[in-house]
């Protein structure tokens, strides 16, 4: 065995990346192990990109505490990493008397739980904010702190921060077995064995299977598929807030939101499935979304759909986080993160570190950290090609390749040269947005793919 790690984080979704970043703050040898070829390639790649305040999670639960904390930390730490936060606010809209009654109750409970900026607004205020909303809204709860973020750059920024500060990242390394040893574990992975003193299972959709390797069977993943539509940027003027329905106890409903990239997003549906790898967009799902748009904002349907996708959420038999520290086993399970991983990740990471330092691990905090900054992919945001001086210094930023999303060859080159270089076309899309736009590669696909293959060949040599 060549080396030994203090901590092995299994799973590089948004939560695993945040946890690895947390440990990178300490004098520890940490490894982040991912089964797939890219980070953020499971549940983290298909969400609604909303940074929730936590007010939509059950009050008094660990999930509520960690999402609320995650939101606070995101606001404090994300901007320095170059991650955008669009504080557009959300309106939870009641369309009938029964919903209006439960909305009033919801508002009372929300304020009582400490989310003091939540306010009930009347019909006129709703239509002032969203003139194209379908008629018939009765009342809404306005939450000004709910925000939109970049769901792809977020786990990337966490992982890049972790790696820049000493964490080792190993992709395409599915863990096949875990052997308990005196001082920890030896994990067999597809790219070799990893010996470590503590395992943090952030396996997401496969979290129960990872736990099973250690003989644990505390929960079972019940994958929940949610389908989404992303509308053309031409629809963006229709909507400048997050629109949510009043949730039922089992389903939060289809929401509508702007995206950081200048589109309008609609979703998710919710469907329990058996196979966590069943990433199919279905005709039923699309029909449900179409019906939801028709009910909430028919004008949206005048615009073309740019993307359809689904996310699969790592729900379990119980509607709560399944985070457990198995001290005697030197194993921490971070399971059942459901649909709140993006908002909760930094809160979860802090909590996990606290569990680890409570008897399983000792380490000093580093005095100095290397800062990281990821490129902004925000629509209308700062881009290298907007800066004439930068283009003059580096002409590749003037060579636009993806016209729908505004991506230059220089930005693609930079992404391919990252220490966390994308190994698939989809990963390249998530890093740069190239081919993510309305033409889906009609204009740019051949050139982007050529650049990708070229870089991959060079990396292989």
């Amino acid at each position: 065995m060549s080396e030994r790690y203090d901590v092995a984080v299994v799973g590089a979704g948004v939560v695993g990346c945040a946890v690895a970043r947390e440990f990178s703050r300490y004098r520890l040898r940490t490894i982040l192990i991912e089964a797939r070829s890219d980070l953020g390639d499971g549940a983290s790649k298909g969400n609604s990109a909303i940074l929730s305040t936590g007010s939509d999670t059950p009050f008094g639960t660990l999930e509520n505490r960690l999402v609320t904390r995650g939101h606070q930390r995101y606001r404090a730490e994300a901007p320095a990493m170059g991650l955008p936060i669009l504080s557009v606010g959300s309106l939870t809209v009641a369309w009938n008397e029964a919903q209006a009654a439960s909305l009033a109750e919801m508002h009372r409970a929300t304020v009582a739980a400490g989310y003091r900026s939540a306010e009930l607004v009347d019909r006129d205020a709703i239509y002032r904010r969203v003139p194209s909303l379908a008629p018939g809204a009765l009342a809404a709860m306005w939450e000004p702190e709910e925000a939109i973020v970049d769901p792809f750059s977020t786990p990337y920024a966490y992982a890049l921060d972790a790696v820049t500060n000493g964490v080792e990242f190993r992709s395409s390394s599915a863990v096949s077995s875990a052997l308990r040893e005196e001082a920890g574990w030896t994990l067999s992975t597809a790219t070799g064995a990893v010996a470590c003193g503590l395992v943090v299972n952030c396996g997401g959709l496969w979290g129960d299977k990872v736990d099973a390797l250690a003989g644990l069977a505390d929960f079972a993943i019940r994958p929940r598929r949610g389908e989404f539509m992303v509308f053309d940027k031409s629809a963006r003027p229709l909507l400048d807030v997050i629109l949510k329905p009043v949730p039922s106890p089992t389903y939060r409903g289809v929401l509508m939101a702007p995206t950081a990239f200048g589109n309008v997003l609609l979703g998710p549906t919710a469907e329990d499935i058996d196979d966590p790898d069943d990433w199919r967009v279905t005709r039923d799902g699309l029909a449900k979304l179409d019906a939801a748009a028709r009910a909430m904002m028919p004008a949206l349907l005048d615009h073309d759909v740019t993307a359809i996708y689904c996310g699969v959420r790592p729900a379990t038999e119980r509607p709560e986080y399944r985070i457990a520290a198995h001290r005697d086993r030197r194993w921490i399970t971070v399971g059942g993160i459901r649909s709140t991983g993006l908002s909760g990740a930094l809160g979860i990471a802090e909590h996990v570190a606290a569990l680890a330092f409570d008897g399983m691990l000792r380490a000093e905090r580093k005095a100095e950290l290397a800062p990281v900054r990821v490129p902004s992919l925000l629509e209308g945001g700062e881009r290298p090609w907007r800066d004439a001086a930068r283009v003059a210094r580096d002409p590749a930023y003037g060579e636009m390749v993806c016209h729908c999303e505004g991506v230059s060859m220089g930005e693609i080159r930079d992404a391919l040269a990252s220490p966390l270089a994308p190994r698939t076309l989809k990963a390249l899309k998530r890093r740069t947005r190239a081919m993510f736009g309305r033409c889906q590669g009609f204009f740019c696909g051949a050139r982007v793919q050529a650049a990708f293959e070229h870089a991959s060949r060079r990396a292989a040599e």
């Binding site: 940027k233 031409s234 790898d277 990433w279 199919r280 967009v281 279905t282 005709r283 799902g285 699309l286 005048d302 073309d304 759909v305 740019t306 993307a307 359809i308 996708y309 090609w385 004439a388 283009v391 003059a392 002409p395 590749a396 930023y397 003037g398 060579e399 636009m400 016209h403 729908c404 060859m409 698939t424 076309l425 989809k426 899309k429 309305r438 033409c439 889906q440 590669g441 009609f442 204009f443 696909g445 051949a446 050139r447 793919q449 050529a450 293959e453």
Partner: protein, 416 residues
């Protein structure tokens, strides 16, 4: 940031833009700058190496690249500059264009007139709401496939399923054969192919490619690469193994620049609204070619380009002014759109855009009429009107008329 002065800036170096450049020069414009964001001029035809391009304009059967060579060869390099690899980031009043390229960086172009000829793209799988998995390789449009072949970007397999049967679908067939790929099936949601019947028959009988009508794709298989598609027809569902599914046709104007510049767009075409010589709602900004609507042939787009180029020359030469009062051409509900959308009565003696009129649904037997105020100016023959065929209307008969209302009507055969 450097500033460039030109009489006429043309955005898009496809058939319409290149033909417009030639006509503008012929009409006396001293300097023309043609800007294209791709790395070579030619637009979509440059990736189609089979014959069938430009007929209406050149009266020759050219290949795509052949047509492009001819159009470029007709330009005097002393007066027409073509800048490729150059993106127009914004079009402002003036007109003023903000451009960006790797060679020259950011620059501003001050033009006396602008012609937008940004062309079309195909609607991809997502916009067509086709369910199934989303493998990163093998879900293509014909535009992407043709570019991949032309640029030597390898496809991971050889078996294609083509969705759609517009003319372009048959273009894929030719391109694919040339590249050693095989089309294993064509799928059409309508009950018959949307191209010319003899073409479809040839494909079926000679090339041996099955055309599945009244069929849609109900699922796409494959994790990283497409491995097959499930098709659904009245006969049921079945899976066709394949390496790529190519979404063809279903073109739309690529109009983000026109939209961001604030031009009035026609919701029915998705392109800018123009009068009969291509003047848009923005002063000094013309538009031509398939940007006006999807889709006509490359030769048709070139003719439009040439007429708009000539009109631009007339405008820059002071022979006509900018568009004043226009009459909107009202269309009967059977029609999907008409281009031009409006008519300026004050324009004397200029060749007008050929009319693009299309029905929204096939009409078995009808005749089209052109009305000016109460008078019926023209009446077409009784005929079948098909969605995918352009209906010719001699709008130019309006040019001798005084200002008034204009409408296009469709009457069933038995109507008096």
């Amino acid at each position: 940031m450097s500033a460039i002065e030109t009489d006429c800036a043309i955005v898009g170096a496809g058939p319409a833009g290149l033909a417009a450049a030639r006509a503008a020069i012929d009409g006396g414009v001293r300097s023309v700058l043609v800007i294209d964001r791709d790395d070579a001029p030619g637009g979509l035809p440059r990736f189609c190496r089979h014959p069938g391009f430009g007929w209406e304009y050149t009266r020759r059967l050219e290949t795509g690249p052949g047509l492009v060579r001819r159009l470029i060869g007709a330009l005097d390099p002393a007066r027409v500059q073509i800048r490729t690899g150059t993106t127009v980031q914004a079009l402002h009043a003036g007109p003023r264009l903000e451009i960006l390229s790797s060679g020259a960086g950011a620059a501003t172009v001050h033009a006396k007139a602008v012609i937008l000829a940004t062309g079309i793209r195909e609607r991809p799988r997502t916009a067509r709401l086709v369910p199934g998995r989303r493998p990163e390789r093998g879900i293509l449009t014909t535009g992407q496939l043709q570019q991949m072949i032309a640029r030597g970007v390898p496809l991971h397999g050889k078996r294609l399923v083509v969705v759609g049967t517009e003319h372009v679908a048959f273009s894929v067939l030719l391109t694919a054969r040339h590249a050693g790929l095989s089309v294993v099936a064509m799928v059409e949601a309508e009950d018959r192919p949307m191209s010319y019947a003899p073409v479809a028959t040839l494909v079926r009988c000679i090339a041996g490619v099955p055309i599945h009508a009244t069929t849609r794709i109900s699922d796409i298989h494959g994790e990283t690469c497409v491995s097959g598609v499930e098709i659904e027809s009245p006969e049921g569902r079945r899976v066709i193994p394949c390496d790529a599914v190519v979404f063809s046709g279903d073109f739309v104007p690529d109009s983000p620049l026109a939209r961001s510049a604030g031009l009035t767009l026609d919701p029915a075409t998705g392109g800018p609204q123009v009068d009969q010589i291509g003047r848009t709602s923005a002063p000094c900004v013309f538009a031509a070619g398939n940007l006006l609507r999807a889709v006509e042939s490359s030769g048709f787009a070139a003719i439009e380009g040439a007429r708009v180029g000539a009109a631009t020359a007339a405008f820059l030469g002071g022979r006509i002014g900018w568009r004043g009062q226009v009459s909107t051409i009202a269309i009967a509900p059977q029609f999907r759109y008409v281009v031009p959308q409006c008519w300026s009565f004050e324009v004397p003696g200029l060749a007008t855009l050929p009319t693009s009129l299309r029905v929204g649904a096939d009409l078995d037997s009808a005749r089209v009429g052109l009305r000016h105020d109460q008078a019926l100016l023209w009446r077409g023959p009784v005929r079948r009107l098909l969605r995918h065929r352009r209906i010719r209307v001699p709008l130019s008969s309006l040019s001798t008329r005084l200002p008034g209302s204009i409408s296009l009507v469709a009457t069933p055969r038995d109507h008096p």
